[in-house]
């Protein structure tokens, strides 16, 4: 379980997170929605230790990561949690297969046979078995995101964080990605935290939804109940109303 307790983060005078509280239950999918620039990506990166937060604490499976060094994040957190970046962030000097292999080799120290098996399994899971020897710059947007998901699931993570996995994709590709996220949750038991603007997708795959507004979580609810909420800001946001 991920417990985010009263997190604050500022960049200079710009206050991004102002006391965020959020719990991500095991084997569930929680989606965080909110306007652009409200600190959703900062929140994800803070959980994984890529950004240091100013105040508060984050507990992952009971381990408080407040004040953790890079080495401690590597040792206790990053072997069971990975992040799918918004633009994929595949290492562009190597093929998709080599991208998956690198993390397996350096982080997991697996032998060649096991690595080969995992590369094949993860590419099969995302439906891209034929792009193993292709470079990231030769992939379309949707393939890039699926390749990034393949790289992440090859690590067999307990937690998977997605930073806007469907942004910039057409509705069909968005559906493919959303179905994939759901499939990974159901079949592999991966607990997922998703940052998304894709309200339809959020509703279809999430167990819970939270809204980040002006640096705080202003609402958390079940995804299937999201259209029945009384919060005006949330209602306007999911309906796309200009206020």
């Amino acid at each position: 379980m991920i417990k985010i307790n009263n997190i604050y983060k500022s960049f200079g005078n710009f206050k991004v997170l102002q006391g965020v509280n959020l719990n991500v239950e095991e084997n569930k999918i929680l989606s965080v929605v909110g306007k652009s620039g409200t600190g959703k990506s900062v929140l994800l990166k803070s959980i994984l230790g890529l950004i240091t937060y100013d105040k508060g604490n984050i507990e992952i499976d009971g381990i408080n990561t407040n004040g953790f060094s890079e080495a401690e994040f590597n040792k206790y957190i990053r072997h069971k949690m990975t992040l799918v970046f918004q633009n994929g962030a595949l290492w562009d000097s190597m093929t998709v297969g080599a991208n998956i292999d690198l993390a397996l080799q350096i982080q997991k120290h697996l032998d060649v046979t096991e690595r080969e098996k995992r590369i094949k399994e993860s590419l099969e899971a995302v439906g891209l078995i034929n792009i193993r020897n292709v470079y990231p710059n030769e992939l379309s947007g949707g393939m890039l995101k699926r390749a990034a998901i393949a790289r992440a699931i090859a690590m067999k993570p307990k937690y998977l964080l997605y930073d806007e996995p469907t942004t910039g994709l057409d509705p069909i590709l968005s559906n493919i990605i959303n179905n994939l996220i759901k499939k990974l949750n159901v079949e592999m038991g991966i607990t997922s935290l998703i940052i998304s603007h894709d309200i339809k997708g959020v509703e279809s795959i999430s167990d819970d939804v939270a809204m980040l507004y002006e640096g705080k979580i202003i609402l958390t609810c079940k995804a299937k109940e999201m259209w029945e909420q009384n919060n005006q800001i949330f209602n306007n946001f999911i309906r796309g109303k200009i206020t």
């Binding site: 994040f73 990975t82 970046f85 000097s93 982080q107």
Partner: protein
């Protein structure tokens, strides 16, 4: 009023420079302490050795040849008529071994290698590829800097050997056409002025310049930001500051080894 402003600016730039060198030293220490894991990165080390060494060889040979040719002309035409012509061989040898060889290698590789490293790492930084490495518990300094550092520590001295050879050869050709100095005379001059310590000094400089080139390229790459403009700026800073530091260190090493 203006005077105070200047003092403030000097203070600001001094502090920024000291902080920068401090962070750069920490990165260097980090990279050196990662060398114990070199066995995980053999492929990258070989790849970088080829990039820094083999692919720089043509430009290094071309510049060395022209430096040798120019030295032959300059020394030949400026020597007193009373000085025996064979002395030129020794002068060319020592100029190339002690100064021209390492400096040319250092500056050429600053432009080619430091810039390349800064641009590559800078692009990785602004496209979140560095964060992606960290998210998979891969230490970016260990993965990106250490293999380059090891490769440069071997490749730059190796390049220097080629640079020295071709520069001396070109120096001889130039001397032959300038003051009609033959092989025997040139070799006699080299023989009378050859010191093993000069070779040692030359190799030490190349070794250290290799480290400077990689660490400055990496440092500015890791600190680049704000998209393509930031990467361009990082590349420029890497070339400028690695060149400046190579020239400063050239003096420091020369003076240190002279007094040793």
């Amino acid at each position: 009023m203006n005077f105070n402003l200047y003092i403030e600016k000097i203070g600001y730039y001094t502090r920024t420079a000291i902080e920068g060198y401090g962070r750069l030293s920490i990165m260097l220490f980090h990279a050196f302490s990662s060398i114990r894991k070199f066995h995980l990165y053999i492929g990258q080390i070989v790849e970088q050795f080829i990039y820094i060494g083999r692919r720089s060889l043509p430009i290094v040979i071309i510049t060395s040849v022209f430096i040798g040719l120019a030295l032959g002309v300059q020394i030949g035409t400026q020597m007193s008529p009373l000085t025996p012509a064979w002395v030129e061989g020794g002068l060319i040898l020592r100029s190339i071994l002690l100064e021209m060889g390492p400096i040319i290698i250092g500056l050429i590789l600053s432009g080619r290698v430091a810039a390349g490293i800064a641009a590559e790492i800078g692009t990785m930084k602004v496209t979140e590829q560095i964060d992606a490495l960290r998210s998979f518990a891969i230490d970016p300094v260990e993965y990106l800097v250490m293999p380059r550092l090891i490769a440069a520590m071997f490749a730059v001295p190796a390049l220097l050997v080629f640079a020295d050879f071709f520069a001396i050869l070109a120096g001889f050709i130039s001397s032959y056409f300038t003051i009609n100095l033959g092989w025997e005379g040139f070799l006699k001059g080299m023989y009378h002025n050859f010191y093993v310590s000069d070779v040692f000094t030359s190799l030490v400089k190349a070794f250290i310049f290799g480290i400077v080139i990689v660490i400055f390229g990496s440092y500015f790459g890791f600190n680049s930001n704000r998209g393509a403009n930031g990467v361009g700026k990082a590349t420029t800073l890497a070339v400028v500051w690695s060149s400046v530091d190579i020239l400063m260190l050239d003096y420091v090493i020369s003076a240190f080894l002279f007094f040793l």
